[in-house]
């Protein structure tokens, strides 16, 4: 399966080996079911929600 000719001999755009994203690792850790987590996230990004920012 040869690559397209335009891909050969050019400088790449990615620049470094891609690491398996941490999202994958976190997603498989034990915890609340995805449905329950969805509700939590939805609440967190609801407009007007305030009061949980601590700096």
């Amino acid at each position: 399966m040869p690559l397209g000719p335009g891909r050969v001999g050019r400088v790449g755009v990615i620049g470094h080996p891609v690491a398996k994203t941490a999202v994958v690792a976190k997603a498989v850790t034990p915890g609340p079911a995805p449905v329950a987590k969805t509700a939590v996230v939805a609440a967190a990004v609801t407009p007007g929600r305030a009061g949980r920012r601590r700096i």
Binding site: G6, R10, V18, A44
Partner: protein
């Protein structure tokens, strides 16, 4: 496919009007893929809506011995709705990108690589530049990070009760 320079700079567009370009590598572990065409339909829907422009797609396979094979979308016979996208692709990814993108793949898995321009963000980015703004940072917040933050916050609140 078209030459990448031609593809990016023609169409009466200049570099300033390009939206940010993202990529994603979606891995399908051996024996776990379930290609129903749903992903292709969703991707085409985003293109048709003018939300994104797909720049490049590659299909990667990592063999059990660690070697990687790359397949162009044009090599797939049954493209279905992706046929319309394939005609507009540019070869942005270079040969050396294949190894970099496949580095995290598990042996025996297949991965789809998609590179796209966020058309929806281009006008805002151009306006920001015309206003003198400079991009300081960009990134993506994983949903899992939001969950972790909320859970930590709730645990903190509970401790204070």
């Amino acid at each position: 496919m078209t030459d990448i320079t031609t593809e990016l700079l023609n169409q009466d567009r200049d570099l300033d009007s390009l939206g940010p370009v993202d990529y994603i590598v979606v891995e399908f572990p051996a024996g776990a893929s379930n290609f129903t065409g749903e992903m292709a339909e969703e991707l085409v829907a985003l293109v048709d809506a003018g939300t994104i422009r797909v720049i490049d797609i590659l299909i990667l396979t990592k063999n059990e011995d660690g070697t990687v094979e790359a397949m162009e979308l044009s090599e797939i016979e049954e493209l279905g709705p992706l046929r319309a996208i394939e005609a507009q692709l540019a070869e942005l990814l270079a040969e050396e990108d294949v190894a970099n993108l496949a580095a995290a793949m598990d042996p025996g898995s297949t991965a789809g690589v998609v590179i796209w321009e966020n058309l929806w963000a281009a006008p805002f980015g151009s306006a920001a530049r015309r206003s003198g703004g400079q991009l300081l940072a960009t990134g993506r917040i994983p949903i899992q990070a939001i969950i972790a933050s909320i859970e930590a916050d709730e645990a903190h609140s509970t401790e204070g009760d």
